[in-house]
């Protein structure tokens, strides 16, 4: 089980944080900063488009969307490919936490991890008095926390 990449995207769609994790045989190749921005804004846009396309009746089909903390009911929930999954979590304030994971990581553990990452965001990013909202996150403490919680999933 492995988590390959993490993207945190703000309400307005700008990329706040991106990290690729060191995993043996990761299907995710390295990109440059510009590519990450493109991936982030594409996901943000596709999510918004998907939310318009999803029929109301289909809303409850996906287990994760029923969890109250995940405000992502109609938008893009998950892209499943042959080699990895992309899972989107959105808070009521519009913050997106997107994980690219291996196929064998269960929906529940992905959600728990996203929830934990959200907690770290509220603690180590928002409570830092010098962090300005909507700005890229370059904070050592947050970085370390993210690294350690994700590493614990990468076995």
């Amino acid at each position: 089980m492995a988590v390959y990449s993490l993207y945190i995207i703000s309400k307005s769609g700008s990329l706040l944080y991106q990290k690729d994790f060191n995993v043996v045989n990761s299907p995710i190749s390295k990109h440059n900063t510009n590519d990450y921005l493109v991936i982030a804004s594409t996901l943000h846009g596709v999510h918004a488009i998907a939310s318009k396309l999803t029929p109301k009746e289909a809303m409850g089909n996906y287990e994760r969307s029923r969890l109250p903390s995940n405000s992502n009911r109609y938008g893009l929930q998950c892209i499943r490919t042959d080699r990895f999954n992309i899972c989107v979590y959105q808070s009521t304030t519009g913050l997106k936490i997107i994980l690219i994971t291996s196929k064998d990581l269960s929906d529940l553990s992905v959600l728990q991890l996203q929830s934990k990452l959200y907690e770290y965001y509220t603690d180590f990013v928002l409570k830092n008095p010098f962090y300005r909202l909507e700005m890229p996150i370059r904070l050592k403490l947050f970085d370390d926390k993210v690294q350690s919680v994700v590493t614990s999933h990468n076995v």
């Binding site: 999510h47 939310s51 903390s69 304030t93 509220t122």
Partner: protein
């Protein structure tokens, strides 16, 4: 609903909320206000504004922690919002539960009556003839509420209307919903 919320608030207060010595908190806030009064040369309007802005900056950050800790989703109407603010919001951050009261007939505006106010223990306003009429000592709370509401797309006016420090009967914060900013609700929600 109401009892359920109270239970949630109590649980989070017990298990997840970080605690701090209340006197340290009260004294810190007191020294901030006193310093602001000095800095603005006892122009209490300016002090109110500054406290409000400080609160606003706290509120826009605090809301995420609130949502994360409570795992709540968007409220269906302002009545739910009022209950959540009083029974969970105030509970987990200040350990008080203001009474929701004085609804207007159209349910667009309500009052939060603070029976106790941890910010104002030990406080007596300066006896300069105007602090009693102009200073809203705990105005930071209004800013915090405003900031939190703003981040969940509720455009509200929040202000004090009464404060026991001024010699009023009660301490009341008035919240008035101007508009739900529907266009700004993040995509993918109901």
């Amino acid at each position: 609903m109401s009892r359920q919320l109270k239970q949630i608030g109590d649980d989070i207060w017990k298990s997840k909320a970080e605690k701090v010595n209340s006197e340290l908190f009260t004294l810190t806030y007191g020294s901030v206000v006193a310093q602001l009064c000095k800095d603005f040369n006892y122009d209490y309007d300016e002090v109110n504004k500054e406290l409000f802005n400080m609160g606003l900056n706290i509120g826009v950050r605090l809301i995420d922690e609130f949502l994360q800790k409570t795992q709540l989703s968007r409220c269906a109407n302002l009545r739910d919002t009022a209950e959540v603010v009083s029974k969970i919001g105030f509970k987990i951050f200040l350990n008080i539960t203001p009474t929701v009261a004085h609804w207007t007939a159209d349910y667009k505006s309500f009052g939060l009556i603070l029976a106790e106010n941890p910010l104002a223990d030990f406080v007596e306003l300066p006896d300069d003839g105007k602090a009693n009429k102009e200073l809203w000592y705990s105005n930071i709370l209004c800013g915090v509420l405003k900031g939190c509401f703003e981040m969940v797309q509720l455009d509200c006016d929040v202000s004090f209307v009464e404060d026991t420090l001024r010699g009023d009967e009660t301490t009341e914060i008035r919240v008035k919903l101007i508009k739900v900013l529907k266009d700004e609700i993040p995509a993918g929600e109901e």
